[in-house]
């Protein structure tokens, strides 16, 4: 099964579970499966059109899925997905 690492700030919606195992065959299905298992996380991962939110990025191993097949990137057993929130700021 593929493993999805839940980002720390969202773990309060997964009962502090740090990772999620899934048999999903694509990235989109895997992220959707998390939202089905933990409904409170849905709005943090998906917008009102059920698309993965703009400011969330997904990495497969060390690669951004945007340089692969995006949300339709195929998953293999032993793959590791990471959900990445945007981290930025500054004095203005």
């Amino acid at each position: 099964m593929a493993r999805v690492i839940i980002p720390t700030p969202l773990r309060k919606f997964t009962n502090d579970q740090a990772s999620f195992e899934t048999n999903s065959s694509t990235v989109f299905e895997a992220i959707k499966a998390i939202a089905v298992a933990f409904p409170e996380i849905q709005k943090h991962l998906f917008d009102e059109n059920d698309q993965i939110r703009n400011f969330i990025r997904i990495y497969l191993g060390d690669e951004d899925i945007n340089v692969l097949d995006k949300e339709q990137t195929a998953l293999s057993p032993n793959d590791e997905l990471s959900i990445i929130p945007a981290i930025a700021g500054g004095k203005d």
Partner: protein
């Protein structure tokens, strides 16, 4: 809201890093354990990816975030939050900081004035998505000057 308690080395490492990046903003992650207080045991600096305006803004790459979560899991630590500096500016969060803030993270802001540490503060979001300040201590229990 919980207090943040630093080991002296962790706080020294944050300050040393942010002095070295002055007059640019520096940034990194900090790790530890959450109990009655948030204990900051380890810090890891990362590169500020904002090349347009690094004196006034910071940005952390996706791969650095992936590595930060991995580091926490591998070392059995909690990823507690993000630190960054405000060069020649107070240690209070900006609208830009608020726009990117995530729930359940702590945000340490260090004011670096003319290359020297002036103040260290920590902030977290409340239920209304507004910043509230967390008290910051070193292990010796001396509260760090916030303003």
């Amino acid at each position: 809201m919980k207090e943040l308690v630093f080991t002296p080395k962790a706080l020294f490492d944050v300050h040393r890093h942010l002095i070295s990046t002055y007059p640019h903003e520096g940034c990194g992650f900090f790790y530890g354990k959450i109990g009655e207080r948030k204990e900051v045991l380890d810090v890891r600096e990362v590169k500020n990816q904002n090349t347009e305006n690094p004196e006034r803004a910071f940005e952390i790459s996706g791969i650095d975030y992936v590595k930060a979560e991995r580091y926490a899991l591998e070392n059995n630590l909690d990823l507690l939050g993000v630190y960054h500096s405000h060069p020649d500016h107070p240690a209070v969060p900006s609208e830009h900081d608020l726009r990117y803030a995530l729930p359940n993270f702590s945000y340490i802001i260090v004011s670096v004035i003319r290359g020297e540490i002036a103040a260290t503060s920590s902030w977290t979001l409340n239920e209304e998505n507004k910043f509230i300040q967390e008290q910051v201590f070193e292990y010796e229990e001396h509260e760090i000057k916030n303003h």
